[in-house]
């Protein structure tokens, strides 16, 4: 079943055509890698899906009802079940790992629900902390964590939101080889039940993900298919791999 369908979106910034008639669809469950050279529009694509950037034209259809979610606020889109992990880990450094995770836990999000609601479910919180190997760090400030641990905390926060679609921007950046392997396993495991889109530069990492690959170039899809398929595509070789 198609969970998210991006249909012919275009957006330009000050005359620069960042996305140019891009169409893209992902099912549930599915694991998809998005690759492309710098400026191909990968991040802009994520910005549009998560509601941060409004495209000039096109539609973004979501879920069973194929509802157009363009124009909804970022928070409403997040509550629909689209979670995002940023390239640079953005955790709340002034707060503990526990507080970071508690904020992300799937729960009611209105001010009064937050104010009068029960404290975060410690059991669930611990599950997610263990999943990302931070169970022993719950009471440390996120700002004290190493770069790799911040990456894991952000992944943990993404999981705690229990999204249906996970948009993951360069998850393995700054990780040790062992951590990369752990990340690959985690993403593959998640993709058994969820839709997962991974934006990545590292071809070895993409190869290990062993999934369909979408190659973006100048704001549109250049090729799509298995990694071997796209790497043999002459266009792809010309613009990306050949350099």
């Amino acid at each position: 079943m198609t969970l998210l369908e991006v249909d012919g979106i275009s957006v330009s910034f000050d005359g620069f055509q960042a996305i140019n008639g891009l169409s893209f669809a992902i099912g549930e469950p599915e694991l998809r890698a998005v690759i492309g050279p710098n400026g191909a529009g990968k991040t802009t694509f994520m910005d549009i899906v998560t509601g941060k950037t409004r495209p000039d034209s096109g539609r973004v259809l979501w879920g069973e009802t194929n509802r157009n979610i363009l124009g909804q606020s970022e928070s409403a889109i997040a509550r629909l079940g689209i979670g995002r992990k940023f390239q640079k880990p953005t955790v709340f450094e002034d707060q503990t790992v526990r507080e970071n995770l508690a904020m992300a836990l799937k729960d009611r999000r209105g001010p009064f629900s937050v104010l009068f609601g029960l404290p975060a479910d410690e059991g669930r919180l611990l599950d997610f902390a263990e999943e990302v190997g931070l169970a022993a760090q719950l009471d440390r400030l996120a700002g004290e964590l190493s770069h790799g641990q911040k990456q894991w905390l952000e992944i943990g926060m993404l999981l705690a939101q229990e999204p249906r679609l996970l948009l993951v921007d360069e998850p393995a950046a700054g990780m040790t080889p062992a951590e990369r392997e752990h990340t690959t396993d985690l993403l593959k495991r998640l993709a058994r039940r969820h839709a997962v889109v991974v934006v990545e530069h590292d071809m070895d990492f993409v190869r290990r993900l062993d999934c369909r690959v979408t190659v973006l170039h100048e704001g549109r899809v250049l090729a799509e298919g298995s990694l071997d398929h796209v790497t043999q595509n002459q266009d792809v070789i010309d613009v990306y791999l050949g350099r």
């Binding site: 928070s75 709340f92 707060q95 992300a104 999000r109 001010p111 937050v114 440390r140």
Partner: protein
């Protein structure tokens, strides 16, 4: 890893609970001390009033800290809400007192006065100063204490709700939002200055120190009663805000302050949380104002001038943002010192060629200390508490700073 065997310390919440207890106990002790000293005639009635007013300012500062220090909205218009609370209670105070005076004047006549005559008398008394005797529409509720008390909460609350909704919805942030709040309080001040606003223009409302219904009460008794009411309001407001900024709400508010875009991607509607903090603090600030002005005795449009809200921000900055007691300490310390300097308490400094008169130079001193605190001690006066608690407790961190063997050890963190 012996560190892992230590019981998990759940971060700051217990510390915060301790600071709340200490604050409330200190406040209670202070209130008792002032009462005893006043009872023994060791401090004057006007000084008791000054202290009571200072507690109201501390409550406003605590609210300001929640909206600025925790939520990251530098509102430079919160004293508008303070003034509105004062006007709301002042209208009843003036009305009820004038009503009593008019009634006693008319009692001398042969026939008992009709309600119409009474109203006419009140109108003439209150609005004669602006050359009118009609009672403006906004005074419709002034005869009723419960309705006017409701206005203390509703008027600042509604203004904050509407203003905040418009401003936050258009995602105005940072310095632009601060300028908008300054514009709001300036507009309110200019509006109130007009005679036809119906709030007596630049005369403001006066005689508020006389509390209707207690004709026999002396100002000494009234001052102690209001001092206690102010202390109670500060205690309750402090408890309310300590609760709000703890738990998940506090977590989300601080997250909004640090990275609001990220909070949106977690599914929180940032604007609603800002609006919540802005409106709640506006209401509490309004209540603080309603307790302040009966002790001041007079309110006029100058009270909601932009500079008043800037002072509020300065107190919070000097006291230490992001901790409630810091804001309270800042407001109390700076406004008392300010009062000492401006009321001639500080001896003038004769430099031979120039004489420094503190009534004029105090603002320079305040400005310099604000700059120094901002540059050198961003934690403000509240940071002194850290120095003390850290010395007693040793380093706050028991585990190493990182998981690796090369990570900083706790001993190194104390520097």
């Amino acid at each position: 890893m012996t560190d892992a065997a230590l019981p998990l310390r759940s971060g700051r919440p217990p510390v915060r609970r301790t600071s709340t207890m200490v604050f409330l106990v200190a406040l209670a002790a202070f209130a008792v001390l002032v009462t005893v000293l006043a009872g023994a005639d060791m401090i004057s009635t006007s000084f008791v009033k000054l202290l009571g007013k200072t507690l109201c300012l501390a409550l406003a500062a605590v609210a300001m800290d929640v909206v600025w220090g925790y939520t990251g909205i530098l509102s430079l218009g919160h004293m508008a809400f303070f003034g509105l609370g004062g006007y709301a209670i002042g209208m009843w105070l003036m009305w009820a007192r004038t009503e009593a005076i008019v009634a006693s004047n008319l009692a001398a006549s042969a026939l008992p006065p009709t309600p119409g005559e009474l109203r006419e008398g009140i109108g003439g008394q209150i609005f004669g100063v602006v050359g009118s005797s009609d009672i403006p529409l906004i005074w419709s509720f002034a005869h009723s204490l419960p309705l006017q008390l409701a206005m203390v909460v509703l008027v600042p609350g509604l203004l904050a709700l509407v203003f905040g909704w418009l401003a936050f919805r258009s995602r105005v942030t940072g310095v632009y939002l601060s300028i908008l709040t300054q514009a709001m309080t300036l507009a309110l001040s200019l509006y109130l200055f007009q005679n036809d606003t119906g709030l007596r223009g630049n005369n403001g409302l006066s005689g508020l120190q006389n509390i209707p219904g207690f004709p026999a009460a002396s100002q000494a008794q009234i001052s102690i009663a209001f001092f206690w009411a102010s202390a109670l309001a500060l205690a309750l407001g402090y408890l309310l805000f300590a609760w709000v900024v703890s738990g998940r709400m506090g977590s989300v508010l601080r997250a909004v302050r640090d990275d609001e875009a990220r909070v949106r991607f977690l599914g929180y509607h940032v604007e609603s949380f800002k609006l919540f903090a802005f409106t709640l603090t506006a209401v509490v600030t309004g209540i603080a104002g309603a307790l302040y002005y009966p002790q001041a005795g007079i309110i006029n449009p100058g009270e909601v001038a932009p500079i008043a809200s800037i002072y509020l921000a300065v107190w919070v900055a000097i006291g230490g943002r992001g901790r409630l007691y810091g804001a309270a300490i800042g407001a109390i310390a700076v406004s008392l010192v300010s009062n000492w300097f401006t009321s001639g308490g500080a001896p003038d400094l004769d430099l031979g060629v120039y004489e420094i008169r503190w009534t004029e130079w105090w603002l320079v001193l305040l400005g310099v200390s604000f700059v120094l605190v901002t540059l050198l001690a961003p934690k403000g006066l509240g940071g002194l508490v850290d120095l003390w608690t850290q010395r007693r407790r040793g380093p706050a961190r028991r585990a190493a700073y990182g998981p690796d063997t090369g990570a900083k050890r706790p001993e190194e963190g104390a520097e």
